[in-house]
């Protein structure tokens, strides 16, 4: 009697190797080419800019929605409170404002005035670097 070898029962790994290779390459590509970033608390259409500025490291705390609603860490913030307590709330020499590209000047101006009243003479606007 001849007992068959269990070679035929081994999983067929060889046909999977190209797939595994591609998956490894994709993994390395995403790890190297991209970067992880926090998402803003609300959906914001970031304005594009051709100019080159300092890359953003942390998500800004101030958000201005298209309708003019101001948020601090995702919660509503009145302009009066920003003007009165902005220095303590932001604790930054140059506050960063993530304002929607569609927000009108009429809505933006009171927020900037409140920052100005809080003692800030400059603001860091968050923009999306356009690759063109």
């Amino acid at each position: 009697m001849r007992i068959a070898s269990d070679e035929r029962r081994r999983p067929m790994l060889e046909p999977m190797l190209p797939l595994i290779n591609v998956v490894f390459l994709l993994l390395v590509f995403f790890m190297v080419a991209g970067h992880m970033a926090q998402q803003p608390p609300v959906e914001i259409q970031t304005p594009e800019s051709d100019a080159r500025h300092q890359p953003l490291e942390d998500m800004p705390r101030l958000t201005l929605q298209p309708g003019g609603e101001l948020l601090l860490d995702g919660e509503a913030l009145s302009r009066e409170r920003l003007a009165a307590e902005g220095g303590q709330l932001l604790a930054s020499e140059r506050p960063r404002l993530h304002a929607d590209a569609r927000v009108s000047s009429k809505a933006l101006r009171p927020v900037l005035q409140a920052l100005r009243d809080a003692g800030f003479d400059s603001v860091q606007l968050i923009t999306l670097r356009s690759e063109s």
Partner: protein, 126 residues
């Protein structure tokens, strides 16, 4: 009875768990990776109360997405770039009409800075 001698195979490390983990890592990175770059553009603010001092400066008033006013003249954005190239860089300030969106303000500011004008402020005047 004759039996083949048993084949002694060294216990190998199974690749299946590794492949599973790699797949999960791949999905994770595909979901959280972003290829766009956010940046922070500094923009000095001038309050409305500083209007008196700004009378000495050049004013660029943005009226719409493709037009600005300078010294009571209406210019297209390309004409504005021509004007900026013809003159030496000087301090200037930007004002905007109420309906002008932030994207337009940033676009005009970029064009002015690209022409070599580094001292640009956004005035809180209509």
């Amino acid at each position: 009875m004759h039996l083949d001698p048993p084949v002694h195979r060294s216990p190998g490390i199974g690749l299946t768990p590794l492949i599973d983990v790699v797949f999960i890592l791949l999905v994770f990175f595909m979901l959280v990776t972003r290829f766009t770059t956010l940046q922070q553009a500094p923009l000095p603010i001038r309050s409305a109360g500083a209007a008196g001092a700004e009378q000495q400066l050049t004013r660029v008033h943005i009226t719409s997405a493709d037009e600005v006013e300078m010294s009571d003249r209406t210019l297209s954005l390309s004409a504005l770039e021509g004007w900026l190239d013809e003159h030496d860089p000087r301090p200037l300030y930007i004002t905007t009409a109420d309906p002008v969106p932030l994207a337009t303000t940033i676009d005009v500011t970029d064009r002015i800075r690209a022409a070599g004008y580094s001292d640009v402020k956004l005035a809180l005047l209509e």
